[in-house]
Symmetry: C2
Subunit: 199 residues, 2 copies
């Protein structure tokens, strides 16, 4: 069975549990309390030197880190990842964009809003860049049902994880109508599960 | 022929030109002056909404962005990317790590050092995180010749791009002996080219 080490409330961890569920792959969730430093324990660092959740342990005992690399590994050969090389590369393009231009802004703003003192003044850059990311997604979705090839792929799973909770980071989602319709489409996919609330 | 839109001195652009060269794929380099806003021109944004270099245009006219997604696309089916799924995922793991934990620290510090006023005081976090990234690489290379499977892959190309110029960002590389040997090994790979100096 797959072992998933993650933190409830983390979009990066949620996206892996969502894909595992939609692939009907049974897994055991190990809760890691990052605020208590559990991802920096000797035991955790022995599994993954980077000390970040999520990590996936395969039934064979191999450990993978980086949420979007895990998504790619699990999705390979399934309907969630196109076989055609250019389409596959476009999925990766969106996943790299998510980790560089979306998550460090939207997820980090949400983290400080929800788990910090709630004051985003020192994070004005992240808020502005987060809105840029939402605007770019909204423009792309003006003539696309999903991010790649008009079908639901891990590009959508990767982007859904923190977009659907962006409002918790103080982002006003009202102007992004295409994003709202896409969030709704993603949430209606077979086997969809909600993100577990933070513990 | 491939068309590569990039900025001389940018590691993200260099990594794509390095792989194209090592794959013996002819390409035309289009210089984009990001400091003059050329990646935000209407023409550029029409090709890629994200407005970032590099972008690759295939001989068929398809456009890809995100340097590491481009590396993956070009390397597919070659010796630079393992076929075995777990190894392939480990390559992606390092490439995602590079874009999240390495580039935003090391490349951004270098950018402010070389193209800014040279004062890294406001970027102390990025400097500290950059050293963490170097330490992690050094530990991994203590018992690995290359990042994945003890062979030269796009994981090495991705990480080489900004590591080999980290000293330009003020990073003291002396303590990272394994990184130094690996940089040397990478630079001795067949078809290696140097990064073009910034214009």
């Amino acid at each position: 069975m797959y072992q998933l080490y993650g933190t409830s409330g983390s979009g990066n961890c949620y996206k892996v549990s969502l894909l595992l569920t939609q692939l009907y792959l049974p897994f055991h969730w190990h809760e890691v309390d990052i605020l208590k430093g559990e991802s920096r324990s000797d035991l955790f660092l022995k599994k993954s030197r980077a000390g970040k959740v999520p990590i996936l342990e395969t039934p064979e005992g191999e450990v993978l880190s980086e949420s979007n690399a895990i998504l790619f590994y699990l999705a390979k050969g399934s309907d969630f990842l196109p076989l055609e090389p250019l389409q596959e590369a476009r999925v990766l393009q969106w996943l790299f964009w998510e980790q560089y231009s979306h998550e460090p802004n939207i997820a980090v703003a949400r983290f400080h809003k929800v788990w910090g003192d709630g004051d985003l003044t020192p994070f004005a850059d992240k808020v502005a860049n987060g809105y840029d990311a939402l605007a770019l997604m909204n423009a792309h979705l003006a003539d696309n049902l999903f991010f790649v090839g008009n079908r639901y792929t891990i590009a959508d799973i990767g982007l859904y994880a923190y977009t659907h909770v962006a409002h918790e980071g103080g982002f006003d989602m009202k102007p992004y109508k295409n994003v709202a319709s896409w969030l709704e489409r993603v949430s209606r996919q077979p086997g969809h599960i909600k993100m577990a609330a933070a513990k």
